[in-house]
């Protein structure tokens, strides 16, 4: 599921991730009764540790797997740690599929798509909030409903259109159909509505035009929300799979997820797992690193609107 198809129900403002100190008097178990040590361990730490392990171990296993040799993977005994950690899998993966090229393609598609989408989201949201136009509410509603339309349904018509325009196996063919941005527009509009009107009125009186007001005032004071939109967009573009899968057909334009599919098809036998894990790492780890540092923005963006 694409991350930005969450239909936001409550029109809340994007919370620039502000961490609030919890009430210190707050009892540990949600305000009910006095926690016992045993209760805290059995009902708290044990499930917490279990859940964390179940989520984290497969990813650890991926990293270990990528450093193993084919022999270690094929062994009848479970080999936990690679005995002779090697980058062999990485270099072999590169020889099967042009990994640097895939990485470059993914980077180009992600960068171009994200930049254009964020710019379009800013300009559209600004226009919807600050520029006079009839029936703006209906236009916004149309954009909001687009959030609910499953992109999968539009696959075939978009393929026919883009292929007809000669967009198969081109960067623009990969990027173009996804450029319309409902998610970013929605998030930014809600945020712009919350900005103090006085600042903008003061600027208008000082003779600042719309573009000046947008670039010099609205954008700078909305940085956290724009960052949220940008991060969610970048992650989406990087992970995007089904569209690049059908619109590309050789690795000169394939993105990483599509190239990995190719790798899995080429490397059919089990001894190739280290190579596949190396490939999985290349697509997963960049997102994981970004998430590790900026997770508050990403979580805020993705869960926005769910809770009042």
């Amino acid at each position: 599921m694409s991350l930005d198809t969450m239909p936001p129900l409550a029109a809340t403002d994007v919370a620039p991730p502000v961490r609030r100190r919890r009430n210190r008097r707050r009892p540990d178990d949600g305000g009910v009764g006095r926690p016992t040590l045993l209760g805290t361990i059995v009902g708290g730490y044990l499930p917490l540790a279990l859940a964390t392990l179940i989520i984290a171990l497969p990813l650890v296993w991926m990293v270990l797997g990528s450093f193993k040799t084919s022999g270690e993977v094929l062994s009848q005994h479970v080999v936990l740690l690679p005995h002779h950690p090697s980058f062999a899998a990485y270099s072999r993966a590169s020889s099967q599929v042009n990994f640097p090229r895939l990485f470059l393609n993914s980077t180009i598609v992600t960068a171009a798509g994200s930049i254009i989408k964020v710019v379009l989201a800013i300009t559209t949201a600004y226009a919807l909030v600050f520029v006079r136009f009839p029936a703006k509410k209906w236009i916004f509603l149309g954009i909001l409903v687009a959030l609910m339309v499953p992109s999968q349904v539009s696959l075939l018509p978009n393929y026919v259109l883009i292929a007809g325009m000669g967009g198969v196996n081109t960067y623009w063919g990969i990027v173009l159909p996804g450029l319309g941005t409902a998610f970013g527009t929605f998030l930014l509009r809600q945020h712009f509505l919350s900005l103090p009107k006085e600042i903008l009125e003061a600027a208008e009186i000082d003779g600042a035009g719309h573009l000046t007001r947008m670039m010099r005032i609205v954008v700078p004071i909305s940085t956290p929300t724009i960052a949220t939109v940008a991060l969610v967009t970048i992650v989406n573009e990087w992970n995007d799979y089904i569209w690049p899968l059908i619109i590309t057909n050789d690795d000169s334009r394939m993105t990483l997820p599509v190239g990995l599919t190719l790798l899995k098809n080429v490397e059919g036998d089990p001894s190739s797992y280290p190579i596949l894990m190396a490939g999985a790492i290349v697509v997963i780890v960049p997102v994981l690193v970004v998430f590790a540092f900026l997770q508050r923005y990403i979580v805020a963006g993705l869960t926005q609107g769910a809770v009042k």
Binding site: M62, H77, G142, I143, V149, Q152, I242, L256, S271
Partner: protein, 307 residues
């Protein structure tokens, strides 16, 4: 025209002054590209799809024949309908139920003031933002009946590994497990945020009245979470019905895992090139999604009350 209206008309600026025209032009400049893209690539395909679904048309061929509702007839009277709709129903119900239930349980744990819960929260959310293809590959490695770590552990226990990739039922089970693994953190984080918004006074009042943790949860927290539950139900059903990445990478042939979404893909792009038939399936999927959205939005509007 009455005096009052005339007064209002005079008080307003002339209907369309140059200044307003400039504003309109600016609006077009700023908003039109995005609106045009959405119309072109989101709304137009909905209509085109319905048209395509009436065609007997091989993808790539320049000729197509209008066959009315025959594609729909073929789907519903053919052997596929029961299997595909059944698989879609099982996949959707189990993944939605699984990720919401586990997410809720996890949220109640994360809601306690435990050391390391911030880290745990980030960890369980992480798979939600990772590439489905990467995650699918990792789990393919784990589930492999010969070399997988799961098979290895079962061997140590003296058991054989199930043939996850050959038996349709097991393939579906496997994809469901991985899908829940990837999505439960989203439910957990949303439930957690809702739980933290619960008024503390209510909980304290319940405690004073002698309600235990279970009673408090059932009578107070759960009813207060109902808007969140409906929101999650809506979004996770929409997500599950559109699941693609994991199915494509773990079970490319769709043996046991062909949902409506995957069938629409396979028919057009999986080697059959049956564009018209695929469009019909996609249209059926869209109608189901639309119906669910409308029904749930109505429920959300009318039925969900705070306790």
């Amino acid at each position: 025209m009455s005096n009052a209206l005339a007064g209002a008309a005079v008080a307003r600026r002339p209907r369309v002054s140059p200044r307003i025209l400039r504003e309109w032009a600016l609006f077009g400049l700023l908003a039109f590209p995005n609106i045009a893209l959405i119309l072109m690539f989101v709304y137009r395909p909905l209509l085109t799809n319905v048209y395509y679904s009436t065609l007997d048309w091989t993808l790539g061929s320049s000729t197509a024949r209008v066959i009315g509702l025959d594609n729909y007839r073929e789907f519903f009277t053919g052997p596929d309908a029961a299997t595909v709709l059944g698989t879609t129903a099982i996949f959707t119900v189990t993944t939605v139920g699984g990720s919401m239930l586990l997410g809720l349980l996890l949220a109640t744990v994360l809601n306690r003031r435990l050391v390391g819960r911030t880290f745990a929260r980030a960890t369980v959310f992480a798979p939600y933002v990772l590439s489905g293809v990467g995650v699918g590959l990792v789990w393919t490695f784990i589930f492999d009946p010969v070399t997988g770590v799961l098979a290895g552990l079962l061997r140590m226990a003296g058991l054989g590994s199930p043939q996850w990739f050959l038996q349709p039922d097991l393939s579906l089970t496997m994809v469901i497990i991985v899908y829940v693994w990837k999505n439960l953190g989203y439910c957990a984080v949303i439930y957690l945020a809702a739980m933290q918004a619960v008024d503390r006074d209510l909980l304290e009042a319940a405690a004073i009245d002698g309600a235990g943790p279970v009673r408090t949860f059932v009578s107070i927290v759960w009813p207060l979470l109902s808007p969140t539950s409906f929101f999650l139900l809506l979004t996770t059903i929409l997500g599950s019905l559109q699941a693609f990445d994991l199915i494509r990478i773990m079970t490319p042939l769709g043996n046991g895992t062909t949902t409506l979404m995957y069938d629409a893909y396979l028919q057009a792009f999986g080697g059959y090139n049956r564009a018209g038939y695929s469009a019909a399936i996609a249209t059926i999927l869209f109608v189901i999604l639309l119906a669910m959205t409308v029904v749930q939005l109505r429920v959300l509007e009318r039925r969900v009350h705070y306790a």
